[in-house]
């Protein structure tokens, strides 16, 4: 079988770590026999309590708000780009969005620190600190995430919005439909799967974000589930924190799985009218 090298590789580098995280999440150190472990749900119980639960809630909240902001901005922007009817602009935007949607990480956090961080250029120019703005907060993270979220939304909805034909609206108008009626009965229903799939994808992307948040916030400041896993791993296994971190990791995988299971069929349906 020519697939064996691939399957072995996947088993080693994807199967083993995923099994590892799941197994560790479902066991705790045995108090009677040091060094031994017993199966338990205690890690998950702990992941829904105290600081871990705060981090989970805050991550969810930030992701929902970031997805809403990015989704609405991205949708409006995509519509604005489509209606300029400029081919050049659309071509440039198509390339730029796929680049920006895949950018991020440490350089993104650093640029935002240079612009709107404590001693950032824009911060000083507009005295943002006096206005009560700080980048090192949930709001700051949401602002920074837009850098890859808005392009992601544009990338997802642009093809669908560009696919809406003016002729469809003219046809609707010729049978007496108003602009409002066209959008309500034809335009929006066709675009809805793409728009929803965009929102879901944005939520998943912000929820899983680690690198740029870690480079910006580091250990303290804003509780986030991805950063909480960091500190759980760094603390060693003295208080069973490593296993709680694994439970948090499993929680993240479950959220991402739900996101993908909603996203995939919506994405498929959004292509229905354009085959």
């Amino acid at each position: 079988m020519g697939l064996i090298p691939f399957l072995v590789f996947i088993a080693l580098f994807l199967g083993v770590p995923v099994c590892g995280i799941v197994l560790s999440a479902f066991r705790v150190a045995d108090v009677n026999k040091p060094g031994n472990y017993v199966p338990s749900l205690a890690n998950f119980a702990a992941s829904f309590r105290g600081a871990s639960w705060d981090a989970m809630q805050n991550s969810l909240q930030i992701s929902v708000i970031a997805a809403l902001v990015g989704g609405i901005m991205g949708l409006a922007l995509a519509q604005a780009i489509v209606t300029t009817r400029s081919r050049k602009l659309t071509a440039v935007v198509t390339v730029l969005t796929s680049v920006l949607a895949n950018s991020g990480g440490v350089p993104l956090a650093f640029s935002f620190i240079a612009a709107v961080g404590n001693a950032g250029i824009i911060t000083e120019l507009l005295s943002l600190t006096d206005l009560g703005f700080t980048l090192y907060s949930s709001g700051g993270l949401i602002l920074m995430y837009q850098y890859f979220l808005i392009p992601t939304m544009v990338m997802v909805v642009l093809p669908t919005l560009a696919g809406l034909r003016v002729e469809w609206k003219e046809a609707a108008a010729s049978v007496g439909a108003t602009s409002w009626q066209f959008w309500k009965k034809i335009g929006l229903p066709i675009a809805t799967p793409a728009i929803l799939s965009g929102f879901v994808l944005l939520f998943g992307a912000s929820f899983a974000t680690h690198a740029s948040a870690a480079a910006l916030i580091g250990g303290g400041g804003v509780p986030l589930i991805s950063l909480r896993i960091d500190s759980g791993l760094a603390g060693g296994n003295l208080a069973g924190q490593e296993n709680v971190a694994m439970a948090l990791g499993v929680n993240m995988i479950v959220v991402a799985l739900v996101v993908l299971l909603i996203y995939m069929p919506l994405q498929k349906r959004s292509l229905k009218w354009f085959k």
């Binding site: 994807l14 590892g20 995280i21 198509t94 949607a101 650093f110 240079a114 870690a214």
Partner: protein, 291 residues
């Protein structure tokens, strides 16, 4: 009268708001995208006490940690690209030629990395490596754990970076192989006496050059910028090193981070333009690169 108003309506096309408002939004977004990068650029070339200078760039290069971080990152990047293509090109060709039944299963397997956030993958690797090391010095699991984590050749990073690229690589190579008549190409090459390796290298590869370059560029961009797995496993790659020197010399770290970012963007732009030329068909929009 009614007729006229209908015509104006149609002429307005699919516009929802006034064109000026649309342009205002586009300009606002352009500012949002460019201003942070320009601020970073200003930070890296203008020091209030010294005026315009390239000193931050020189300082970043002179940092004692830089050569090690650069060589580690380059080594990982080269190894990952080579290993990725060596693993995935033959696998995908085999899949299309001999095992089309397996395609849905392999597709799902290659999609799994999308539901495993990189911090979760890193956590999984940490727990496995730690428990293998826990078998005690000299034991087989501990030795494997050490081998995978060899500081000079972190196999574990190469492996996990390949995993992170799989969702894109599968889609790209799959689409590329679909557009060519693989079976006919291979059969005619064989009938002319070409061996399996020759067919792969001289017949198939040239025909899927676009997708292969796409995969390579995407992989390079990922390897240059990846932070989460590297920092969790304790490797000092360029991005990890950047965050470590940021505290003491932010201007130096931001100048190097700008260079890396520029290189990454150049790779991603080249990749997208190439892919657009090779396959104008809509591909499933996925966001998989680390944020």
């Amino acid at each position: 009268m009614v007729q006229v108003s209908r015509e104006t309506r149609a002429a307005r096309g699919l516009r929802v708001v006034a064109p000026r408002l649309g342009w205002a939004l586009i300009i606002l977004m352009a500012l949002y995208i460019t201003v942070p990068m320009l601020c970073a650029l200003v930070f890296s070339i203008y020091v209030p006490t010294a005026g315009f200078t390239f000193e931050p760039y020189l300082e970043s290069v002179r940092d004692p940690g830089f050569p090690g971080a650069l060589s580690l990152t380059l080594l990982i990047t080269v190894l990952t690209v080579v290993a990725l293509l060596a693993l995935m090109v033959p696998t995908m060709v085999y899949l299309h030629l001999r095992a089309p039944r397996w395609r849905p299963i392999i597709e799902i397997v290659c999609t799994i990395p999308l539901v495993v956030p990189s911090i979760a993958l890193a956590a999984g690797l940490v727990t496995v490596l730690r428990s293998m090391a826990g078998f005690g010095r000299g034991s087989v699991p501990a030795q494997i754990s050490q081998l995978l984590q060899n500081p000079d050749l972190p196999v574990v990073l190469v492996g996990s970076y390949i995993v992170l690229t799989l969702p894109f690589v599968f889609r790209s190579l799959d689409a590329g192989l679909r557009t060519i008549d693989l079976r006919t190409l291979v059969e005619s090459a064989h009938s002319l006496g070409a061996s399996g390796a020759t067919v792969l290298r001289r017949v198939i590869l040239p025909n899927i050059k676009g997708p292969v370059i796409f995969c390579a560029f995407f992989c390079i961009a990922l390897c240059l910028g990846e932070y989460t797995v590297a920092v969790t496993l304790g490797y000092r790659t360029l991005p990890v090193w950047l965050t470590q020197i940021a505290g003491s010399n932010f201007r130096a770290s931001i100048s190097m981070s700008l260079l890396i970012n520029a290189l990454t963007w150049a790779l991603l732009i080249a990749m997208t333009v190439l892919a657009g030329r090779a396959a104008p068909a809509r591909t499933l929009a996925l966001k998989g690169h680390e944020s």
